[in-house]
């Protein structure tokens, strides 16, 4: 019973991680400018990697490796948005203007 629930949860986490990673990749290809691409690369990718790592931690079970995986999860949650913030900030300071409706893709 518990094993079934665990396997089901792992499957759900992997599926969610795949979904968010796919959304992130689509956004990086399809969105028009630096700011929106940085936004999708950080937000959706944080969730994608987060769910994938949670699935990994569940698969491994309780132990040192699972603790390392959770630490990795924590650091991805901290550093990924900061990286996106740094990219967007650098682009803004360089004078890149945000895309508005009607502009060309950049």
């Amino acid at each position: 019973m518990i094993t079934t629930a665990r396997i089901g949860l792992i499957a759900v986490f992997v599926a969610l991680g795949l979904f968010f990673t796919f959304v992130s990749a689509t956004g990086v290809i399809r969105l028009p400018d630096v700011f929106s691409r940085a936004h999708t690369a950080s937000q959706a990718d944080t969730l994608g990697a987060g769910f994938a790592l949670a699935a990994v931690a569940l698969t491994i079970g309780w132990g040192p490796t699972a603790v390392k995986t959770v630490l990795l999860l924590f650091f991805i949650f901290v550093t990924n948005p900061t990286a996106a913030h740094a990219i967007a900030r650098a682009a803004y300071e360089e004078g890149v203007e945000p895309w508005t409706r009607g502009d060309e893709r950049r």
């Binding site: 901290v78 550093t79 900061t82 913030h85 300071e93 004078g95 890149v96 203007e97």
Partner: protein, 204 residues
């Protein structure tokens, strides 16, 4: 839009950048993350012989700590804080340790990098078996050699890149000098990188 700005730059003078202002978000994250990254880099370095990792990866992580500090608190202030001789010295000391460990066995009549040559000399003093010298010798090369070289060269390259590319008028002589020193070792690259970094820093 942006191509106009780029066209304006082609007169050979570096574009005036706005004054760098620190970001509270980046500074806080870097402060929180740096101790873990440094510990992880040393962990990777020390475990190079018995598990995945090694001097190269660990040295790169240690250098990335300096890169993060530079990104968060300003590159120029980091360059002043981390003296140029320290960056160059890391690479130089690394090569010296590597060459020392590698060449002493040759002086003792064995092959280059043959760690077992240390056994007759140091075996009783350190109380180690012959096969343990292979492990600890490799460890010494990883830690004292490769990790130092990689971290020093990466920091030097970063500061050289951050100082900016020299204007087209100066590149001809620079390129000639660079091609002269092509056949030399990594440390020399680090040294020239550091030197250009200071020169460019003084120009500003």
């Amino acid at each position: 839009m942006s191509s106009d700005r780029l066209d304006g730059d082609t007169n050979g003078i570096a574009r005036q950048r706005p004054m760098y202002t620190e970001s509270q978000v980046i500074m806080t994250t870097v402060k929180a993350v740096i101790p873990f990254v440094l510990t992880y880099g040393l962990f990777i370095t020390f475990h190079g012989t018995s598990s995945p990792g090694g001097g190269f990866q660990g040295g790169a992580l240690v250098a990335s700590v300096v890169l993060m500090i530079a990104f968060a608190f300003g590159i120029e202030s980091t360059r002043e804080w981390l003296s140029n001789s320290l960056v160059v010295g890391l690479g130089t000391v690394g090569v010296a340790i590597f060459a020392g460990i590698a060449l002493v066995p040759m002086a003792l009549g064995e092959n280059f990098l043959d760690y077992t040559a240390y056994y007759p000399v140091l075996g009783d003093t350190l109380g180690l078996k012959e096969y343990e010298f292979v492990k600890y010798g490799m460890e010494a090369v990883e830690i004292g050699g490769i990790a130092f070289i990689v971290s020093g060269v990466l920091m030097g390259l970063f500061f050289a890149l951050a100082a900016g590319v020299t204007p087209p008028s100066g590149t001809a002589s620079d390129a000639a000098e660079a091609s002269d020193s092509d056949g030399e070792t990594d440390v020399d690259d680090g040294e020239t990188a550091g030197d250009t970094a200071t020169e460019a820093g003084e120009n500003e």
